[in-house]
Symmetry: C2
Subunit: 256 residues, 2 copies
C-alpha cells in the first residue's frame, strides 16, 4: 500500500451484523469486531493501530453507523484503506466511510449524542430473512401503551433502574434521553432512542421494560414509580441483543 509522507488520525464509519461476533471489544480467543478491524488494518499498514469506537456493542448487537478513530505513523490514502479493509474483512463487517481527521477528534469523547434503534417482530411467525435482526415477541403488544410509557421517560433523569450495573457506572446514572419513540408498522415495532449518552445495556433495558408494558404486564403509570425507585429490579428485563442497532452517532457541527 502506498505510503504518504505523514500519518495521523483517521475517522472510520463501520456497519456490522453482530450475529457472528462476541461484541465490539477485543477479547482473547473470541472473534470481535474491534479484533477483526485491527487485524486487517495491521495487515494493510504493517502497523498495529488500536481502533477506538464511539461506544462498545455487546455480543449479537448490530451497528448501522459505528464511528471509530485510529492513528497511523505513516500516511495512507483513505480510499485505498477502505478498499483494502473491505477486501480482507468478512462480508458481515463493512467500512462504509473513512477519512483523515484532526488529532483532537475522539470517536467516544467527541460524540455529542447517539441514536439506537430496537426492532421487534410482533407477529406469530418471524420471517426467516429477519431472523438475526429482530426480537420476536409473539404476544400482541399494545404499541400505544408502549408509546405513552416511553414519553414519560424522555428528559434528564437518574436512569439507575434501567442500567445493567448501576453501581459500576463511573459518571453516575443521570442521563439526558432526548427521544424515545415507539412506532408500529404492521408486525414491526421500532423503538427509537436518542440521547446524549446511555448507561450499560440501557437501551435493551428500556426495550425490555416497554415490551412488558405492551404485553400488559406493567401499566403505564408504573413507569414513573420504576424510574423514581432508582433501583434495578426484575421488573425491568434486558431485551435480547439481536433487535438492537447502534444507528447513528452525533458530533458537533465543527467536529471533523
Amino acid at each position: 500500500m502506498t505510503s504518504e509522507v505523514t500519518g495521523g488520525r483517521y475517522r472510520m464509519s463501520v456497519a456490522y451484523d453482530g450475529s457472528g461476533y462476541s461484541g465490539w471489544q477485543v477479547q482473547p480467543g473470541r472473534i470481535t469486531v474491534q479484533g477483526e478491524l485491527e487485524r486487517v488494518l495491521a495487515e494493510l499498514t504493517s502497523e498495529a493501530p488500536r481502533v477506538h469506537c464511539s461506544g462498545r456493542t455487546d455480543t449479537g448487537v448490530h451497528a448501522r453507523d459505528q464511528v471509530t478513530h485510529f492513528d497511523l505513523v505513516r500516511g495512507h490514502e483513505p480510499r485505498r484503506l477502505i478498499h483494502g479493509c473491505n477486501a480482507l474483512l468478512r462480508d458481515d463487517i463493512r467500512v462504509m466511510r473513512l477519512r483523515r481527521c484532526p488529532a483532537h477528534f475522539d470517536a467516544r469523547r467527541s460524540a455529542t449524542g447517539k441514536e439506537y434503534r430496537y426492532f421487534l417482530w410482533n407477529g406469530p411467525i418471524l420471517p426467516p430473512h429477519l431472523r438475526h435482526q429482530r426480537t420476536h415477541v409473539r404476544r400482541p403488544l399494545d404499541a400505544a401503551a408502549m408509546s405513552e410509557a416511553a414519553a414519560l421517560l424522555v428528559g434528564r433523569h437518574d436512569f439507575a433502574a434501567f442500567a445493567a450495573n448501576p453501581h459500576q457506572e463511573r459518571g453516575g446514572t443521570v442521563r439526558s434521553l432526548w427521544d424515545l419513540d415507539v412506532r408500529r408498522k404492521g408486525h414491526e415495532i421500532v423503538i427509537v432512542a436518542g440521547g446524549e449518552g446511555f448507561l450499560y445495556k440501557m437501551v435493551r433495558s428500556l426495550a425490555g421494560f416497554l415490551i412488558r408494558v405492551g404485553a400488559g404486564e406493567l401499566a403505564v403509570p408504573d413507569t414513573v414509580s420504576i424510574l423514581a425507585s432508582r433501583q434495578r429490579t426484575a421488573r425491568v428485563p434486558t431485551a435480547p441483543p439481536q433487535g438492537l442497532f447502534l444507528w447513528k452517532v452525533r458530533y458537533a457541527k465543527r467536529s471533523p
Copy 2:
C-alpha cells in the same frame, strides 16, 4: 400429534432464506428446502409426504411466499402442524400458513401466475445486513434505461433468448410476461417480474440482461434484436441467485 379421522391434502406457504440450501429440490447428500420440509413433516406425522411446490428455486434463491401442497393419510390439525414444523425447522425456513385444501388443488398446476423480485444494491459498498439478499453491482446503473428496455419485453413472446436451456423446455419457450418493472430507491434497484409462467432461470437472465443495459454495455434497442433472435448467447448473462425472491404465487379466485 393428535390425529383426526380423515387425512387429505394440505396447502402450505413457506418463506425461506435460500443462502444455506442447495435449492428446493431433494438431492442425495445435499440440504434442500424440500428435504427439510419432508423430514420434519415425516417426524410430526409418521407418514412420508412428498411436498410439491409451485416452482423449484435454485441454490441460493429465496422465497417470500412459496406455495406447496402435500397429502396425509391421517388428519392433522393445521395449527399444530405449523407450530410443529416451525419448532423443528432451522430458523431460515418458516411455514407461514397451512390449511386443508381440496384434493384438486395443485401448487404448480393450479397456479395462474407468479411474481419474482430481483434486488440489486447499486452503491459502492454493500451494507452487511443485506449481504445474502442483494446482488451487488458497483458500476452506476441507469435505471431509466433498464426500465425502457424492460418495457419492450412485456407481452407474449418467445423468450428462448432468456432461458438457460431453451431446448429443454417441455412446453416450448413462449410465455406471457405481464409486468417487468425497474424501480430505484437510493442505492437499491428492484426488478419486479410478473407473468403466467417462467422458463428455467428466466428471471435471472432478464436481470442479467437489464444490468448490462443499465451499465451501458447494451443499448435499449438491442432488446428487440436479442428477443427476436430466440437464441441464448453470452450477450445475456445469468445474474447471481442471491438477489432473487419468489415473491408471490397467484391462483384463480375460486382456488382454495
